[in-house]
């Protein structure tokens, strides 16, 4: 491992501090430049879509988004403004639906699981579970996608979707197992270990004096855990939720594998059928259209999606920072 540690061997004689500050600063600026470039490039390439659709109107709904995007391929090198027209609401909806449900379910699960691991798990179990959680948090998303498409989706398709249900919507969508349910379940399974790992670290770091103080006041075990430990770990819980949301928002390949991958917006009022209907997220749409990126309208569309994701993750990190502010005032550091 140590071979990765860089050695700053100066070429001709030792550097003075001023030189060093300049050179190291230049590298840091290079990093910053790349990041700024990223935002600029994405925004510039997304511009035609914003321009020809009139600002953010392309986020609205109307028509079949898949057909709209496919229609862009045939257009020429300098397509007319109409070629850019797009109503991407189903993709936005698919992104929001999967992300919000997965994060909400996952967060509750993660908080309780973390409490279990830190407070209740027998020592032996804990020595197994903590590394297992870290492993699950590091498992590549494509493996979760593989499990989803090879294990979960066939199971859902075979046992949970009745032929009648399939027939009832056959002229609109095909129900083959992949869809809302599998996507949300797999996404939840993917992001929960990430949250658990962060919350476990925070709970372990809670000073024992706080817990002891709560016990000495006559709090029972749960009151001490919930009212003091979990409360003190709230910044970490917020941070975990923010990180998990960012991961869920940007998950592309895995969602494209297990979501049925259609620009379709299932309605919750469809009842159980809703769970099996296909969706697609923004990130998944980007992956699927990247092969056709040389068509100008598609390229602009894909970059517009990228811009949307970039801005959301920006808002998320600012949101996470703001959410932690009141706790910082309480004197909690994270």
């Amino acid at each position: 491992m140590s071979s990765f540690a860089v050695r700053l061997r100066p070429a001709g004689g030792p550097w003075t501090d001023r030189q060093a500050a300049w050179r190291l600063g230049a590298v840091a600026c290079l990093v910053l430049l790349i990041i700024v470039l990223m935002v600029v490039f994405v925004a510039v390439r997304a511009w035609p879509t914003l321009q020809h659709n009139g600002g953010l109107a392309w986020l609205g709904h109307g028509g079949d988004v898949d057909r709209q995007v496919n229609g862009m391929i045939t257009t020429s090198r300098t397509p007319p403004a109409t070629a850019y027209h797009l109503k991407a609401w189903p993709l936005v909806y698919g992104t929001l639906l999967t992300t919000l449900v997965a994060v909400a379910v996952g967060l509750v699960f993660a908080v309780f699981s973390a409490i279990f691991i830190v407070e209740f798990a027998p020592r032996r179990l804990r020595t197994v579970v903590v590394p297992a959680v870290r492993l699950l948090a590091a498992v590549p998303s494509v493996i979760y996608g593989l499990i989803g498409i090879l294990v979960l989706a066939p199971f859902v398709g075979r046992h949970l979707i009745t032929p009648e249900r399939r027939a009832s919507v056959q002229f609109i969508v095909q129900l083959d197992g992949t869809g809302v349910l599998v996507a949300v379940v797999i996404l939840t399974v993917m992001i929960t270990p990430i949250m658990i790992a962060i919350i476990v670290d925070a709970l372990i770091a809670i000073p024992s004096g706080w817990r002891e103080g709560a016990s000495a006041l006559g709090a029972n075990r749960w009151e001490a855990i919930w009212g003091v430990s979990v409360r003190a770990a709230r910044p970490a819980i917020v941070a975990a939720a923010v990180l998990a949301t960012a991961r869920a928002l940007g998950e592309a390949v895995m969602i494209s594998m297990v979501s049925g991958s259609r620009g379709f917006s299932p309605k919750p009022q469809d009842g159980v059928t809703f769970l099996f209907e296909p969706i697609r997220s923004l990130a998944a749409s980007m992956v699927e259209n990247v092969d056709a990126i040389n068509a100008p309208a598609i390229r602009s569309t894909v970059y517009a999606f990228a811009l949307l994701l970039l801005l959301s993750s920006l808002v998320l990190s600012i949101g996470g920072y703001v959410a932690k502010l009141p706790m910082r005032r309480q004197g909690i550091r994270i």
Binding site: E212, L217, A219, V228, A232
Partner: protein, 305 residues
């Protein structure tokens, strides 16, 4: 002066008419058997007159032995704790003072290797037979390091009150209780009404007084203090000592301290512990003025520790 014999048979757990299976291992040393001496009114002008008369006995420790694994940290200790009195546990580090203190509200139980022999009674009831949460509500504790929770000042005090209520009371219902506790802890005036400040932003001495306020908010019967001033500066210590003298009126206080001068100033009774043994136990003036045991005399005179 009470005689333990009076209480003995009345308590079912003390009644050992059924012979114990344990071998008689009790060793009695002369210096462990304090000769009852009448309490003389103190004529030394430097020592404040103790106005709080000894109230009824609140706690009684009988032949208490605490072991961690095989090693006894507290050996066969007996003493009693009265309302209106401050009992100071003094002695060198690692001699079982804190262990004894933490046994009084069953915090030693959190150490799995700890075993207990002997009895600890709260108002005549064995503490192990009181549910642990109820016991700790009656016997509050202040720790060596101030440990206010990472919440506002109000929430810190309210935490104790809320934990001890079946229904979670709203802010308005408990506000007067919180203010009262802060006032009794001598913190209220300094805060100038701003109870929503984060507790961790207070100074060390204020934090410790907040912990005291938190501990006394629900009117416990006994207050345990584990070297409450060791992390504080002299000025803050002095404030806390005054506070202890005030609190003595309403409850029984047990304080562990390394600081002999402090023990002299605040205590009514002093127990000197050495290597787990209760070497001497008596009135503060007797222990400091006329110690019966040589080890006590050495310690009090600063020969070791």
């Amino acid at each position: 002066m009470e005689d333990t014999r009076d209480l003995g048979p009345a308590d079912p757990f003390l009644d050992r008419s059924v012979p114990s299976l344990a071998p008689p291992v009790r060793r009695l040393r002369p210096d462990r058997r304090p000769v009852p001496v009448p309490v003389k009114p103190e004529d030394d002008p430097l020592i404040p007159v103790r106005d709080a008369a000894a109230g009824p006995e609140r706690m009684r420790v009988e032949n208490l032995t605490i072991r961690y694994g095989g090693e006894a940290a507290v050996k066969d200790v007996s003493l009693s704790i009265h309302q209106g009195q401050v009992l100071a546990l003094i002695g060198p580090s690692g001699c079982g003072k804190t262990t004894l203190l933490r046994t009084l509200n069953r915090l030693t139980e959190t150490t799995t290797s700890a075993t207990r022999e002997g009895d600890v009674l709260l108002d005549g009831e064995e503490i192990e037979q009181i549910s642990v949460t109820a016991l700790r509500r009656r016997i509050a504790m202040v720790f060596q390091q101030p440990n206010p929770f990472p919440m506002s000042i109000f929430d810190n005090v309210a935490y104790a009150i809320r934990v001890q209520n079946a229904k979670r009371p709203g802010r308005r219902e408990i506000e007067h209780q919180v203010v009262d506790a802060l006032r009794r802890a001598g913190l209220h005036d300094e805060l100038a009404g701003d109870l929503d400040r984060p507790a961790l932003r207070l100074s060390g001495g204020q934090q410790q007084r907040l912990c005291i306020a938190r501990a006394i908010a629900t009117k416990p019967e006994v207050l345990l203090m584990d070297e409450p001033c060791s992390a504080l500066d002299p000025k803050s210590s002095a404030i806390i000592e005054d506070l202890i003298a005030e609190l003595r009126r309403e409850l029984a206080v047990v304080i562990v301290t390394h600081n002999l001068a402090q023990a002299h100033r605040v205590a009514d009774k002093v127990a000197f512990m050495y290597l787990g043994d209760l070497v001497e136990y008596g009135d503060v003036d007797q222990v400091f003025g006329a110690p019966r045991a040589q080890r006590t005399r050495d310690y009090v005179e600063g020969a070791f520790g």
